[in-house]
Symmetry: D2
Subunit: 471 residues, 4 copies
């Protein structure tokens, strides 16, 4: 019985799972072998059309169990798959002049590129959601918290813009990485290209003809100029680092939603038939947001595997990285995929309780005004640090009174501080208008929304992506 990959099964999308499925790997590899064979033919190797057809007819005959049995003998996965494909086709023509890594490296890089494209799509889909929240709540004032303590006024829209800009930055870095992403190419056992020359002959431009065909098959002209048997593993590290960069904003979003849910200000959504707790019927937990944070940890764990691989290559390549990459490459993509899908779902189902937000703001206004009051005192001629101290002391008195359930007026208390030189009515007015002190936040949100809109314009369909149902 197959042991299921729970990360993929529970959290990843069908699209991502199909990219990394064993069947797709075999199929992509066979495509690649045939592309090589045809490129060799184009470069002058004598290969009959019927031999090529013999392989082509078998491309979809994928019997993983048979391959596994071959590997139990050869102890070599690629050799097992060569033998299987040859046996199906009744030929021994593929893999001529190749080493295993000619195949596996390029095939994995093809899958990495496709996966990154999927991550890009979902990033845009999420950015579109957040931009919409940004606009909708662009002028809706809420309590901003630093150190988890009420600080000043911000807008709810600005929170989304801030997460959005962090994700946007990550998205653009992923575009940078993919734009520079070099494939290893087909250069043989130690990367010199000699194996191919042995097959094609080193004369004239046969090698170049072959490489041109391969370039077409791989849809890129970015290749490493010089590798050993393998491409440098720091390349994998950097790709997965970038996935981790993409995960950051969704994860900070989820953290804050969990905090807000604890204060009853938002809910991540609660479906028909959903249960929050098996023991406590009343529970409505931010369980999807917890999942987002958890998947962020999972992704970081896989990243740490890639981190271990950088800078430890022996000579032209050892293969202690083999098992690591076999596990960590697909799982890294499953993790980011599940993380993005879950964040999109939460964004789609998010309930925002505006009255609750406004009630919190009203009760915190005197404290949130403390900086404004200080600024007024400074304008009135008080030293900045002196004003800071006087206001701080009375604000602490307010907090103490609140904890005891006693009344306390900050305006009244500060008006009695002669050194401040501010009347009670002046202070009260500052406090009352503090809810309007949005600073530049409306413009800030607009800037981010505009940048997202420009991105969506490039790929309008991406913004409309909706993930399927999930456990």
């Amino acid at each position: 019985m197959t042991t299921p990959n729970l990360l993929a099964e529970r959290y990843a999308s069908d699209e991502m799972k199909s990219i990394w499925s064993p069947e797709n790997l075999v199929r992509t590899e066979r495509d690649f072998w045939l592309a090589v064979l045809k490129a060799q033919k184009a470069a002058g190797l004598s290969v009959s059309e019927s031999s090529i057809s013999a392989y082509e007819n078998q491309i979809d005959q994928i019997d993983l169990e048979s391959i596994r049995h071959r590997e139990l003998v050869t102890k070599h996965d690629v050799k097992a798959r060569i033998e299987e494909f040859n046996a199906l086709a009744g030929q021994q023509l593929i893999h001529l002049g190749l080493t295993s890594r000619d195949v596996t490296e390029n095939v994995e890089q093809i899958l990495i590129r496709e996966s990154c494209q999927l991550v890009a799509k979902k990033s845009v889909a999420l950015l579109a959601r957040w931009a919409e929240f940004g606009m909708r709540y662009s002028k809706f004032p809420v309590v901003a918290r630093t150190h988890n303590v009420p600080a000043q006024v911000t807008t709810l829209g600005k929170r989304f813009a801030t997460w959005g800009e962090e994700l946007l930055y990550a998205y653009l870095r992923m575009q940078d990485v993919m734009a520079s992403y070099p494939l290893r190419g087909v250069t043989g056992a130690v990367g010199t290209g000699n194996d191919l020359e042995a097959v094609l002959g080193s004369k004239s431009n046969k090698y170049q003809t072959f490489q041109g065909e391969i370039r077409d098959h791989l849809h890129t002209d970015k290749f490493m100029s010089s590798t050993g048997q393998i491409y440098p593993r720091s390349l994998d590290f950097f790709v997965v680092s970038t996935l981790s960069l993409v995960a950051a904003a969704p994860s900070s979003f989820a953290t804050t939603i969990r905090l807000l849910a604890g204060d009853g200000l938002v809910s991540e959504g609660f479906g028909q038939g959903q249960v929050g707790s098996s023991a406590m019927p009343h529970k409505m937990n931010a369980r999807s947001c917890e999942r987002i944070n958890g998947l962020n940890v999972v992704l970081k764990g896989f990243l740490s595997m890639f981190t271990s691989l950088t800078g430890s290559q022996w000579y032209e390549g050892d293969v202690s990285c083999s098992v690591v990459r076999r596990i960590a490459l697909p799982n890294s993509f499953y993790a980011i995929d599940g993380l993005l899908d879950t964040t999109i779902r939460v964004s789609d189902d998010l309930s925002i309780y505006e009255e609750a937000f406004s009630a919190e703001l009203a009760s915190e206004l005197p404290l949130l005004a403390s900086g404004q009051i200080m600024a007024a005192a400074v304008k009135a001629g008080v030293g900045r640090e002196d004003a800071h101290w006087i206001i701080g002391e009375q604000a602490r008195n307010l907090l103490a009174a609140r904890r005891e359930g006693e009344p306390f007026s900050l305006a009244h208390a500060l008006a009695k501080e002669a050194r401040l030189g501010l009347s009670e009515s002046a202070i009260s007015e500052i406090i009352e208008t503090t809810g309007d002190t949005l600073g530049q936040s409306v413009d800030q949100v607009a800037e981010v929304v505009e940048a997202v809109a420009a991105l969506i314009a490039l790929n309008p369909s991406w913004a409309k992506y909706r993930p399927g149902k999930s456990v």
Copy 2:
């Protein structure tokens, strides 16, 4: 189509896979629910025998697909499994007075204990192999290397004893950890035990009666005294740290085997039909040792996920750890399991080329003697640091000559250094007998072998464990 867990499928044993299989998880959980129900009955709750039988009859009716469909609605995995089991039994009696974590925490801890037991067994099996090598090569002198450069003489047996002692230390630490391993127990939604009291009534000793029955079912009397909803995640971290400790010696072993294989001194074994490279027919790679090193990296990656969870609990428990533990717990055990099985296989198949070792020793003897020569000079009255300097300079001349393929006699060169006060024949004699300078190594090996033997005596069958065939 199920996405396979490649780590489990390719590297883990059937024993380990069956512990963590979804089916076994469901079965263990149902056993646990019934143990709770019976304990509740023992503590006075009115439950009919026929109701219990109704559940017992369904324990093995495990339909994962049906459970999954329920979870798509409830968004709660335990609730889905409760409903499934209830529907099968036509009852709603299980899970009374429980919270989900009452079930999942204890069930996972049961699986962790079983897995650790399996790891212990395989550790002993590996220790047995290494002890045997230790004895066999206890007096076989080889070149010891530090900084990868020939240093002095050691014995091949001592290398195995050294790896063995590191593994032995880890094994004992795992025994410590397991001996102190506390289960969370059944204490309800926030750990106060109140949910159970609500079911059983708080009078008399019903709660204690119930707990006594559960203790019997779980075969331990080590329980946390006070937890929130979950047991502290630092416990998981420490268990997996200990797995990483167990992995260290096998991985250092593999590293050195890979180095030795590169110099043609050992081979990790090469089966009938095995292939080293798809491109280079002559290759005999230490691919299993590379796999051991790779699995060590994989395990460390999963450890880093547990590291992330420690010290970040919110209140009585958040569940951002849920997805992390669901992934990282079984996979950590798959990784250590595959690592140990692979190391046992390599140890069983290891070829040691004694002539090649001896040839290397013979050629390095003059250098290996440098410390002995220094000691002789000191005895003859030369300052230690002066002797060090003189000998060092001539040794570097020897290395330079060797690289040019020119003859050079260290004894001759040093005899000409009047300050050393040693004759050429005295130096030659030191060099010639350096191969016998085994120091205390024979006794050292014996100490380790004896400790391993004592361990095997406790579990003789464990030493005989042989892993199955592998890709």
Copy 3:
């Protein structure tokens, strides 16, 4: 100008800094060299008392700059320190029969043991604080939260007991680790003991006599039986893993204090003259708790360096670990030291606002009672899962009403649900008494407090430790 170690300077105690100071390292090393020299004399080597005195007189003449200049030439730190000590004493007698690692490994292990002892002391000091809180608030009911959402009733004392038990577990594991902690001992360049035999002569029991003296100097009889040049780096990994285990409970404590401070329920203390924010005079941030969480991250980062070292040893020892351990060993101890001191300070200064806690409890009681109401319904004959569903639905209605600021009586609403079979007064009574549903928590706290008390009884002075003032 010296670049300061900010981790040590800002956060570590003088005690910990002095253990790892460069001066103490030189002094401990010189003590060790002299212990070796005396042991060699005891084992028959001819060494004059005056030579020993010549060294002893210079032990405290520590000129780091002079040593550094020697190292710039030798490119070998131990050799530089040998030369310095020899030059001071006018002798060349130390380090006979030793390799550098004979010195550095044992010296580092001495410092590790001392540091662990200090960590143990501070752990007990912290446990003492938490046990006191546990007792004081043993019966003080507060809202327990899971998933950050109100769940049931717990006591504030139980929270401290829960953190306490996690720390207690870690403390005991550290005791396990230290009890089993083996020193590398003095066994020469590749661990065979041959270098010493060359000095002492291999006849009779000179080697054993020497080792007996060293054992006395090192105050232990736990030594590795067989090592190469170095002790296995997995040993360092395990020690620092255990430090990370110790850090877990303080860090979870700090996380929850930060959450509570955000709701105005506690304050970590605010000194005379302290400032919360340079911009917002009213701020009282849980900045020390944030520091605890930050130091936990720092410690994990150093742990990851040790993780990298396990299982990657080449032959009898490479020295790629040298720079890593030089950095990570002291810094790991600085981090845990600062973390524990900070947690003790926060515990000493913690303000708990009881009225605020009780006000929160009163407002959440109806929800916290949901499990109790379900249990009552089950007792009245309703199916558990049916009752779960009915109560859950009305609880969600209550939450919705609360967010709109509208009145809603859960008792009233549930009484109208005929299927539940519970009257409004019965439900109201359940709700009213829910604040008393402390379950076994008082006993649970007592168990932990008792265990801590037993520990304190062993080291009464440790409990009284108070860290010095800090930035």
Copy 4:
């Protein structure tokens, strides 16, 4: 007494240490405060020139001890430095409308940018060395190894080109990151810009005037559009990820040099007066290469601290990141700085023993030819996989004979395999000419060298950088 930062003291350059020195931090911060003050004046705030001068005159009066004493009271580092600067100047004008993070974030980002520039310079310096080796050994054939086992022929120049290309890729990614690097800017306590508006007045374009001046001071127009109190910590993570990318090629280089040194093929250099081992006078260890690998581990450990910070931000910013960044930012740069300087030193001092390389190649040629022989057999009509099997079997016979010290001719043995259809002379010719099978490696090296040359042309002085002397 100050605890020294050993990472900085032993391994980092004066340039890097001075960037992150406490004095430079204070000075850069004061510059920044004055830039803000002048920008506020430009935007209409009434500030006298004499007040500005009063501050300017004190910029270099840096008394760290005095600042530390202030922080012991305020428990707030920025507040302590404000008070110090104000006290020196006899003014309270700085920091108006600012929050601490307005200052610290931008100042740290200034230092990060400078440090990255230094890393870029050293990367180019190293690339220049490697390109030179690449050219010098472009046609020098050596044994290529995969899985640490002889595989085929490559050139020594190609090895340098391969490391060079990996470093070049990293260098370009760092240029990408720096080109996109956005500063947080001056936007107040929660990022809305409201604090500044309170000071400047919100009318007309005073805010924009101010920001324009700040932009000029910071020499960039890349700023985040919307942040909370802090810039997203994923930005730090990505910068340090990129440092880790830069470290990869030097570390793989060091790993291979260590392997080569063990076989006597290279030496990393050995200075006048240098000592390899305190016990074994003959030792010449690749200790600097071990240091490079160690510093790579250290850097990864600091990276893991940044990894922990991504995605865990609470609301507008918690400060659990404070201690982490204070430690990990400078130390990450010290680590990469020491790593690059050490690699440049090794490259400058590297001894390559050409005769030894050539002797190894001669002895391995028959095996290295195995793929060529297979290609010849395939051309002669044999099935690829059949040829693979026959050649593999005889190659294993050759290895077995070699280990026993017995003669064995691969050409002779294969000629007897009728199925292969190759004569002994044909096979011998293939073997003899295998040393010339350099494939495309000369062109590959040329491509990399050219790319490096183009880079150097942009910054010719960078290529000439030489690190100072080191321990």
